[in-house]
């Protein structure tokens, strides 16, 4: 077995040598220098994306580094299938998270994956910190450091995008990743926005940008990528493309988009509402994907090289108060997650109110999920009289459904005018620890809760996932499958299924394909796709690389102080019934322990 592995890797190397993916661009913001290193060693072993990124993070991030200091690197990695096969449209970002203090990882599409690979690069490592605001303009591997002093402090992230769009070349071929004021002001869950409507959302990459005075990064290039067998390539491309354009599940993503889940989840009582005091809410139809598509949808757009186009933009037409017959129309992107976090969690069922709030969060550049969960907690804490206006300075009175108050509060989170909002800008875990109500602070491993209260697997997934994200191991999907099959889950069955899923998803995010294409990029298809471009990996190779990447992520987490044993289970999730009934804390603890046993055993 080791022999076989060595042989296949050797063949891999010869191809990688010709593939520009092995080039890693390093940028030092402190010294304003850049250089390229050939890192075939990384790509041959860890394929690309999350695999290469975690290795680079382990190399570049000093143990105990301040997440908001110059020692925290920002890593972007593309994968071998970017630019080659459709729906390989994503980029992986890795960094040390200022929110959780350990692994920071988020994925985004837009044009980012295509642009990075077209620039003739496999990864980008940004180190150090600038003394003045700058943005980076990267073309075919060359870096220009551009003055961003004028852009710093600009109210709207949209305007930042607009200015850079006008100043820089390569329209249609580039990515423009940028932060808003939330990132500048180091809100721990600030995001990085790319192509206006996609996000490196979770775990605070925006704050890491802000700490480096890095306002934006634009990347473009015109490299092409050779394949091994042109005929086979074209044939496999067509097969995959046909699957993607005919799969009913993907058509739904196009028609209604991710919010198609809202009504079904509400029906089975799995939709967190009012800070999860409830798992469903009345009048949810008004903010459902169906209603938004019918009454507000203004445009659908797609990530680069993806025929699905799941991104839905609502056109919100608002009158100007002072001028009669004068309106502004704003295009606002909506998805399931912001509808959950900024809608149902806050009791907002007015579609226009919700869209305005989503827009404000976008303007500021915050992660919608973390922001909504923090505001939901704050509302309940205010209800319970935990936060007094006197001690903290004026605090907006938050009330379920009052979107105007929430819009104000979003700006306070960004500006942090008093102790209370300073705390809230650090995340719900921090704020609740300070004001004393952790029972209903919905964070897992320090990361705010995603929108699924489907059963035990979802929550076990949030606790165990390397990113504490629902996308790590898709527990929400397992819960629903279990519900349909009427099989009673056991702690080990749940732990095993989630573990295998998370390990396989490491491979998907080495490539880097959109998780919506996971039913198409099955192991056999992945193997074939890699083979066509000259990467020979057996199914066993793929599987073991997936485990290895997961182990490396946990190595980083542990190194930075993550302790599985002290993971907090928010009491609230045990109180509000799920479709699987009330959750049992012991069951969850047991499954979590079993999960981490599996992680430990990878190394052995």
């Amino acid at each position: 077995m080791p022999l076989r592995r060595a042989r296949t890797l050797e063949r891999c190397i010869t191809v990688i040598e010709r593939d520009p993916i092995q080039k890693v661009l390093y940028v030092d913001l402190t010294r304003r220098r850049f250089w390229i290193e050939e890192r075939a060693d990384l790509f041959e072993k860890y394929i690309g994306g999350s695999g290469v990124a975690i290795k680079l993070l382990l190399e570049e991030c000093r143990k105990g580094a301040d997440p908001l200091g110059p020692d925290n690197p920002i890593i972007f990695a593309a994968g071998p299938l970017n630019c080659i096969f459709p729906m390989a449209s994503k980029t992986v970002a890795m960094f040390k998270s200022p929110l959780t203090g350990n692994l920071g990882e988020s994925h985004a599409g837009g044009r980012s994956g295509i642009a990075l690979r077209s620039a003739g690069l496999g990864a980008l490592v940004i180190k150090g910190a600038s003394d003045i605001p700058i943005y980076l303009s990267i073309h075919d591997g060359k870096v220009s450091f551009r003055d961003a002093r004028v852009l710093w402090g600009m109210r709207s992230s949209y305007t930042v995008g607009r200015v850079i769009r006008e100043r820089e070349s390569s329209a249609g071929l580039r990515t423009i990743m940028r932060i808003g004021r939330a990132g500048e002001n180091l809100v721990r869950y600030a995001c990085v926005i790319t192509e206006t409507y996609r996000h490196f959302g979770r775990l605070g990459l925006g704050a890491v940008f802000g700490s480096k005075k890095l306002k934006a990064v634009t990347i473009a290039g015109t490299n092409n990528i050779q394949v091994r067998d042109i005929k086979e390539y074209k044939q496999l491309y067509q097969e995959i493309f046909t699957l993607e354009t005919t799969a009913p599940a993907l058509k739904k993503y196009h028609d209604i988009g991710t919010p198609m889940n809202l009504i079904p989840l509400n029906k089975i009582q799995a939709l967190p509402a009012y800070n999860l005091k409830q798992a469903s809410l009345d009048k949810v139809e008004a903010i459902s994907g169906e209603n938004l598509a019918k009454n507000y949808l203004g445009r659908r757009v797609s990530c680069g090289h993806c025929p699905v186009s799941c991104i839905h933009l609502a056109a919100l037409r608002e009158p100007y108060e002072k001028e009669p017959y004068f309106y502004k129309t704003t295009m606002i992107s909506y998805d399931y997650e912001p509808i959950y976090a900024l809608g149902t969690m806050l009791g907002i069922t007015s579609p226009e109110g919700l869209l305005k709030l989503i827009d404000e969060v976008e303007v500021a550049g915050l992660d919608a999920m973390s922001c909504g969960v923090a505001l939901a907690w704050a509302t309940e804490a205010q209800e319970n009289g935990l936060i007094s206006n006197k001690a903290e300075g004026t605090i907006t009175q938050l009330k379920w459904g009052d979107y105007n108050a929430y819009i104000k509060a979003v700006n306070y989170i960004v500006e942090q005018p008093n102790e209370f909002y300073k705390a809230l800008a650090q995340g719900v875990e921090y704020a609740a620890a300070k004001y004393g109500s952790l029972e209903y602070a919905l964070a897992f491993g320090g990361n705010e809760m995603p929108g699924y209260h489907t059963g035990p697997a979802a929550h076990i997934g949030y606790l165990t996932g390397a990113r504490h994200s629902h996308l790590d191991s898709a527990g929400y999907s397992l819960d629903q499958k279990l519900l349909a099959s009427k099989v009673s889950p056991t702690p080990s069955s749940v732990a095993d299924t989630l573990f295998e899923e998370e390990a396989w998803r490491q491979i998907l995010s080495t490539l880097v394909v959109c998780f919506f294409s996971r039913e198409i990029y099955k192991p056999e298809v992945v193997q074939k796709a890699l083979k066509v471009i000259g990467w020979d990996l057996s199914l066993d190779n793929l599987k073991s690389i997936g485990y290895e990447i997961l182990a490396l992520k946990h190595e980083f987490k542990r190194r930075e102080g993550f302790n599985a044993e002290t993971l907090r289970i928010p009491k609230r999730i045990l109180e509000t019934p799920t479709p699987h009934g009330k959750l049992d804390g012991m069951f969850i603890k047991d499954a979590v322990a079993k999960y981490f046993n599996r992680v430990q055993s990878i190394k052995a």
């Binding site: 630019c83 459709p86 607009r162 206006t196 409507y197 042109i230 680069g304 025929p307 186009s309």
Partner: protein, 135 residues
């Protein structure tokens, strides 16, 4: 001989997915976008929709008029054909095209000229493009 001609049916249907661009580039059997003769870009921000930059199959094409070496020959049915051996890479054709449909291949340092083959039409999932057949 039947001559084909690529045209844009309805640009409002475009979602900016780049599938047409990748299809065009794939003619040469490689991944990436360097060989595409069609470019989709936002009309000043994705919220405003997209612009399809591609050859309009002019009958009296300015790109051919300015070529100093006669590398661009009139194509029957409209547009031009590139004689790569004659092309000196001066980029005058790029400047001359009013709709900026002459794209550049930095690898060969020559223009990418649409041949009106229709591969992009087949790849477009949303019916933005059309290949019509004239005589």
């Amino acid at each position: 001989m039947v001559k084909t001609r690529l045209s844009v049916v309805d640009v409002n249907l475009c979602v900016g997915c780049q599938c047409c661009m990748f299809a065009c580039s794939r003619r040469f059997g490689a991944g990436g976008l360097s060989k595409t003769a069609i470019l989709i870009r936002s009309a000043g921000g994705i919220e405003r929709g997209f612009i399809v930059q591609v050859c309009r199959a002019c009958e009296d094409p300015p790109c051919a008029s300015v070529c100093p070496t006669d590398a661009l020959k009139l194509r029957s049915g409209g547009g031009v054909l590139l004689d790569a051996a004659k092309c000196i890479g001066c980029r005058l054709c790029v400047e001359a095209c009013t709709v900026e449909a002459v794209l550049w291949d930095s690898e060969s340092d020559k223009p990418m000229i649409c041949v009106h083959c229709g591969l992009c039409v087949q790849a477009c999932p949303y019916g933005v493009l059309e290949l019509s057949r004239g005589v």
